[in-house]
Symmetry: C2
Subunit: 384 residues, 2 copies
DNA sequence: TTGTAGGCGTTATCAT
DNA sequence: ATGATAACGCCTACAA
């Protein structure tokens, strides 16, 4: 079954040519983002129906058509509304969002900047943002910063070209003050131009922020482990410039405070599964000493560490306790099930949107709780 | 440690209006944007710098400014180029993408439709798409169909309003012919209007398509398991309307063909971790019979099943073989490591973009290989 | 209720 | 090389 040949509703509009085919490869896509490998984008237009077409088809003026479809349909004769609607349907008309944006002076898009979409941490947040955006009739555009503060800065800069209503930045690790200041500057500009800014998990910046209680969660975890009889720890953490890692690390230490437990060994490594794996190998290599449990600052690290321990002949949960952070889905399916700290990631995305859409103080901070979830990777230690 | 005193909030700029909560998108903003009433001196209005501002600041015409910044800078005196660039930098000017789009008649966006961003399957594909798009200087907008064909259709329809250069649809499960035909119709319209369409993992539709070799991979897996001595299988699959599930199921059966192995038991369940868990419980509940191994049509199902088996006192890899599909990251960290079929998900996203950007046949099909990866969840069976 | 006209920020076509 | 000026598709006073 083929598509019915579109009725030649527009007989007098030869105008726009069909496909330029292989023609003019648009010159270097200018701008900062250098095109690396791929071929230049193909040529566009074959043109879609415009409001003008609809108006003509319906036998009314453009203004009436506009009103009937979009604006105050109340002031349009019912008959004309029907006419216009029919014409629009017939021509398969969709309003040109860019044109609307430029005419109205505001778009309906929210721009989301993440470090890595493939990471479940961010993709879950993205899911929350997308859901809330859809409910509010907004479009989500996404950009990936890839862990580079410079890239992030550049993204935010070019993002302003979209004139989004909202910019949400998550997972950045601005610590170097140069890019940090530039980022603040950029976002401030954007805000004074009327945009809303919300940061997720990026404390201490003068914007609306959704924070996850990394410190508190880690501290609570430390106390819970103490209560289970653990006293000697190792911590697998990432570079301290990664704020999330540092907060969780410091939180854990603070949770140990006053317990009399010795200072944990610290291993710096990658914020990834392989990082955890590598740190565990290092720990095993230098001798476990009297380490009773490992706290890895996120679950994928913890899971990688468990595998490494097992490869070294140590059984997690028996020979060594292991705990992570995030409570990602696989935590309950690894063996032993992983003790972790649950964070409401999707909720973070929803909350960010809520914050952005609210008319309240645009610099409000909204903390989200983190909840310790004890599992068999850290069983009770037999009291000696 | 609280946030520093926020910068003096914009006094007279109400900015974004409230939103319609659950209601329809066209939220007629009530009040006017700004009290732009009388004499407008150094208007601190919330708008961003325009090309006009830049031109004035640089002391050139708006046309020259445009050329200097964007177009053929070749025909502009070097001095003026510098002037304009300086002005742009000073004013923190970013070209209004919507305005450019409307003037040029084409946008720089690619629209991506996925079933669920939070699912690693789709988020990995999304990562590939985003990467390729960024390299080509394109912006990605994302919409979530949530498993509903109707929603998917509606999304594609409204997506056309963005006038994206490319629409990529992944993970749909159009089987009901009504929505299927409507979807084809909609996408065809879009294509004749000059857009490029690429489908991922959606066979049999007259558009560019990136397919993953579900059937072949499953068949190869079946043969590999036969070679390891397994003969009696159970298959955990999802509703047959979910094409991916059906293909993998059928492929597995075809791989068994001619081996003389008995027909596997089939358990229909959810395409999720919990689905696999549930099916395994059902299998255990009705008695394992002589089932030697389970093939779950994706990894999360397989992993859920392993946990369920363990809960029932069966040790995966010893008492029951388990295999999945996708080879997601945790597959190597569960115990035992999961036999699976590796699928180049990120590559699928990249390939989709490549297909979309190429000038070749817009309906080309590009199959991606799937590779069997044997691990200890399906050890060699001792030959009796 | 309807149409006319002006404007939104850019680009592109003209002359100059 | 540069500057008016007309599009681009839509919205919205302002008139009629």
């Amino acid at each position: 079954m083929e598509d019915p040949p579109p009725t030649p509703a527009t007989p007098a509009t030869p105008a726009t040519p069909a496909f330029p085919g292989t023609s003019a490869p648009p010159a270097a896509p200018a701008g900062p983002a250098a095109p690396a490998g791929l071929t230049a984008p193909a040529a566009p237009t074959g043109s879609a129906a415009t409001l003008h077409d609809v108006a003509r088809e319906a036998g009314v003026s453009i203004a009436t058509a506009s009103r009937a479809l979009n604006g105050s349909a109340r002031n349009v004769r019912a008959e004309n509304v029907a006419r216009v609607r029919a014409a629009a349907a017939k021509l398969d008309y969709e309003p040109h969002l860019s044109a609307q944006a430029i005419a109205k002076g505001s778009t309906r898009t929210v721009a989301l900047v993440v470090r890595d979409v493939a990471d479940p941490y961010f993709s879950t947040i993205a899911a929350g943002v997308t859901q809330a955006a859809t409910e509010a009739g907004l479009i989500v555009t996404m950009a990936v910063a890839d862990g580079s503060p410079e890239r992030e800065l550049e993204i935010v800069r070019t993002l302003r070209g979209q004139r989004p209503r909202i910019i949400i930045v998550t997972g950045s690790r601005i610590e170097g003050t140069t890019t940090r200041d530039a980022l603040i500057e950029e976002l401030t500009q954007y805000r004074t131009a009327g945009g809303r800014v919300v940061l997720i998990s990026q404390r201490d910046l003068p914007f609306g922020t959704v924070t996850i209680d990394d410190r508190g969660g880690s501290a609570a975890l430390a106390r819970a482990l103490l209560a289970r009889g653990y006293r000697r720890f190792a911590v697998f953490h990432a570079a301290p410039s990664l704020r999330t890692s540092r907060d969780r690390h410091e939180g854990f230490l603070s949770g140990l405070d006053g317990s009399g437990a010795p200072a944990p060994l610290a291993f710096e490594t990658g914020f990834t599964r392989d990082g955890g794996h590598e740190a565990a190998r290092r720990l095993v290599g230098r001798g476990m000493g009297d380490v009773e449990a490992v706290f890895a600052v996120n679950d994928v690290m913890a899971i990688g560490a468990m595998t490494a321990f097992r490869e070294a002949g140590l059984i997690p949960g028996r020979d060594i306790g292991v705990a992570g952070f995030d409570d990602i889905a696989p935590a309950v399916d690894v063996l032993p099930a992983l003790t972790s700290v649950a964070v409401p990631l999707r909720e973070a995305g929803l909350t960010a949107m809520r914050l952005a859409l609210s008319t309240d103080d645009p610099t409000a901070h909204h903390p989200l709780p983190a909840q310790v979830t004890l599992r068999s990777s850290t069983p009770h230690r037999p009291t000696p």
